[in-house]
Symmetry: D2
Subunit: 347 residues, 4 copies
């Protein structure tokens, strides 16, 4: 009953097979492998972006930090949500890779609103040489709290950025979970909605450790390559990254896994509605938040369930103390384990 994260489950068997198949003889290193050419072509096709720059790295933090470093001068600031992964969970990697840029937290929840973004940008840019300069906007899709921006929201946000001449980056560690929720095309969710650079996640969706960075303006490509190498993120045996990504995109495996993860989460949410749990959000991707009485948490944890508790008690329906928790479903968790969790939550 592992609901702590979607980065702890197994790699999809088809991906493991692809790795085994790639393990034959010699291959040019450092991204010059033939599989990388195929991956680049495939992603350009999928995103309907025949010129896009495509690069692979091993972690989401590398994808975000390197993408942002290519878009952000050291004296600029990145606009992001207060709960963005780049702010909360990367030990200041964006600050490091950019050479000391700032992050400006746009007030509000995990989903940014165009109004809050506009006001934050306006405020940040009125101190001339004294304050940091305005840099890119970074959005997370799906968000850290499991929400999904719809296309209108994405367009409204990137339009605000564009009004100020700023670029928009998308942290897509859970890109595919959002994509299948919206049922749109990758192009619609990115460059057609004003996204300039994308961290296209694979690790949280069944890969061993691969993320793609996609710049829809290919002029960014060479600088990115230099920053990747300098950041020690250019793998010599790059073919094993390419092989993972190739398998991911073949036969819609990426969509299949995200669809499954979202369905798992929906099943969990649906099941919890009939228990002592109070759902704190509607499942939009593969993350939900729920409040449960402390004694139910104890029962779950004793039974081996793994998930993160939120800070601080909440008040429940009958005045009983509740504790919030985050529940994340990956593609691999079985219906049986989900149902076992639901049963235990029934009390």
């Amino acid at each position: 009953m592992f609901f702590a994260s979607d980065n702890a489950g197994p790699v999809h068997p088809k991906v493991m097979e692809a790795l085994a198949e790639a393990n034959e003889g010699f291959a040019p290193g450092y991204g010059a492998d033939a599989a990388m050419d195929r991956v680049r072509d495939r992603l350009r096709d999928l995103f309907e972006a025949p010129e896009a720059a495509v690069h692979l790295v091993t972690t989401g933090t590398a994808a975000n930090s390197l993408a942002l470093a290519s878009l952000t001068a050291p004296y600029e600031t990145v606009f992001c949500s207060p709960v963005a992964h780049i702010h909360e969970d990367e030990c200041s990697a964006p600050e490091f890779f950019s050479g000391g840029a700032k992050l400006t937290l746009v007030p509000g929840g995990d989903k940014m609103t165009p109004e809050a973004l506009r006001s934050a940008i306006e405020r940040e840019g009125n101190r001339g040489v004294h304050g940091p300069q305005r840099g890119p906007v970074s959005l997370t899709q799906a968000t850290e709290r499991g929400s999904v921006y719809d296309l209108a929201e994405l367009r409204a946000l990137s339009a605000v950025a564009r009004d100020f001449g700023l670029k928009t980056h998308m942290d897509g560690a859970r890109f595919t979970n959002a994509l299948v929720t919206l049922g749109c095309t990758p192009a619609e969710m990115t460059w057609e909605s004003g996204i300039d650079a994308l961290s296209f996640g694979g690790t949280k969706n069944g890969l061993m450790g691969v993320e793609a960075v996609i710049f829809f303006d290919p002029a960014r490509s060479w600088e990115f390559e230099l920053r990747r190498k300098r950041g020690a993120h250019l793998l010599s045996k790059h073919r094993y990254l390419s092989a993972q990504m190739e398998a991911y995109l073949a036969d819609d495996l990426w969509l299949e896994m995200a669809t499954r993860a979202n369905a798992n989460c929906a099943r969990l949410a649906e099941g919890l509605r009939g228990t002592e749990a109070e759902l704190l959000n509607d499942p939009q991707a593969n993350i939900i938040f729920a409040a449960l009485p402390r004694r139910v948490h104890e029962r779950l944890l004793e039974a081996g369930a793994m998930y993160y508790l939120q800070d601080g008690p909440l008040e429940g329906r009958d005045g009983e103390e509740m504790l919030g928790c985050r529940l994340v479903c990956d593609w691999s968790i079985s219906d049986a384990l989900i149902d076992q969790f639901i049963e235990l939550a029934k009390g």
Copy 2:
């Protein structure tokens, strides 16, 4: 006939099996997997260093840069060979990770001498606040040119460093190739010879992409963890790094592969002696340099051999123009391919 590098061959089948075995169910991420505990214990045993800090990363550049960043203040300088990987082949990653430290090139060839090191340190440290301060010494074992420091040489070099209160780092991307050449223990080639921090390579010796960083003083561990995370080098699905390293160290697989690589290189060198090639160094590990007439290079390259030519022509025995080349053998190259190369070199 791939002799361009030892980072382009296949992963050893036993390592692939270990990855497949590790691909079961959920495992705590970010280095908290049980396999990492076993890897740490195993490396501590092997190095007879029960307190050593042990961490895994995916590239040699990450291992070197993060290790050096933990040892070097931004206003210090690292002493290294003019042909060190950290100087020539990492796109200034050490400068990046250290926050702008310098590298001071110790005059000489790829093997540093204690005299040259002492003189470089003395010269660098006499300008008070105006010059960079003395930082660690970084040695490469085996060197970029395929040489191996013997234990007396290592001790003499680290003794010079210690005379000035400086730490010594070893870039061991080809650690095991050197170890089997010397026939000594890991402890003898490291902390017993004055080495404080080690980049323990795996990728060039049959792994998919794993290097260990070992600090013999465990006080460095937490800072390293922070720098690793901030450098985006902490993998969520860390178990797949642990699994590789565990398989590597099991049943002496690491020693077996390095022994094979060195033997492959010795076979190549021996064979070339009877050809038009002139050997430019004696094989000590798995790299040799040879000079061949241009027409022989053409024949080899046409036949599909892959290796790097050196810059600039050399003069051969009979006045014919020769071109130098670097030939690297990994564990996997077959006797047949080596012999085919030798045959072609016969002219």
Copy 3:
């Protein structure tokens, strides 16, 4: 009628005289001048801190950034007010000098409360290796809004920092303005109240461009010197910094100028009470904020008054639209000019 800042007025004549006196013959450079020895001794005496490290730089941003860089690892975060100079007015210099550390804004106004600080520290330090680590607390005395922390407040704040093992830095660009308000000793307002490092301002209080950085723990001194040199803030003709600081501290000139600046501000505030202005804060040092009808602002600005307007209209007593403004008094502004301003504000 210059009320825009206290960094635009003239240098005190006694300081100019000291510069002229210092301009004789040759003097050792880079801080080795004899006057610097006297300055160090004098500041140690004044602060009753016989071991303190004392260094001079030319700007407040340099003092703050270099002091904080000495206290903050790149993977740490500095706790400060949302309106702190280090956050709003230094173009991310603290991020630059620290190698990419973060600033964590403690919610609230310009004066930090111990509760808000404790809660911010608690929140920042619970994500292990994933989030930035807790670094120093930086307080501004007097604040950017013209408030003064009393000794009990300073002690309560530094006690919170100490509870977490953190250091406390004081941005004292207007140190002396606060000191004369409190009527306490420099020691009481600093190390006796738990301050570890101080930016001791001179430029806003009648000098040409000199700030001292004082570490009460002298172990910080050598690292600071290296960071200062590397930051290009070590002046060769250092004697002209020493001469300014020496004149500043002689015959209580520093206290005299701050007392005058505060008195000027009190006179202005008192005068404005009888006008159309609404005072938005009580004068505690040399800065007040006031709201005035737009037409009064127009009259003032036409008459040549210089000061900064605040963003956004306020509602006045009779529903007339008011605009806030910041009024800063330096030591040099004459009673006549202050009175002229008051007259104009009467409408």
Copy 4:
């Protein structure tokens, strides 16, 4: 008898007067003072560069580091002499301000040759993403060893840079000493000779602490301003920098002081020819190197002469051990003191 450096003498009285005159009333800060407009115009006139960007800072290290940071990406390398101030005497400030760029030392003496430069550039740029990328060339005029590049040499060097698409920076800490030696115009010695950016020194030539940074391509201006502020090098009371520079350029004071300094050095050199000293270079600017018997050094130092000894003994004419020394003359040293030094050197 102070010959240790040209940065330890007094400020020219006319500059002190200008400071006193500037000390009147209020003036807009941060470079918005009216005197700065005049300085900018004056320098543009002098350099026949009506569009040039002109900025002032307080130290030569700041001028060099900020200028180079504007020209150099973090993954690039700066080509310079092994004895360049930026390499030897700035505690790695260029590395810091550029975010970790490298310095590539062009083999040879203090004056770079076009051949050595070309070969260094060619060698540095052939490792693709693995090595640092080629960045600007930095020349020192006059050099650290007192030599002066003639115009043909400057043009040949900048032509090499331009062949590779690289920019050329001139460290002109002793710009005027070289200019009066060559007897050319500022334009001839800079942009007409292919210089893109100039550190125009004042401090070593009679100012208190002011250097101008001049970009002949004004597009660099805004980025420079941001980097200057972020580097804590934007002075609030900027008028005192402007005043110094204005006085410097008025009535040819800058040329007068450099002419005097060079003449002082020539007098010293001429005088020493009739003594036990052996001149090690011909005076071209205001620095000479000479070898003297140890006992003569002792006599000089006892008599209060101040200058730097070189490392290591030299052999003199008659086999007596000689020690080299560097002798620098500023504008202010009197004929009497020079002659006294010469007398003492006679033995």
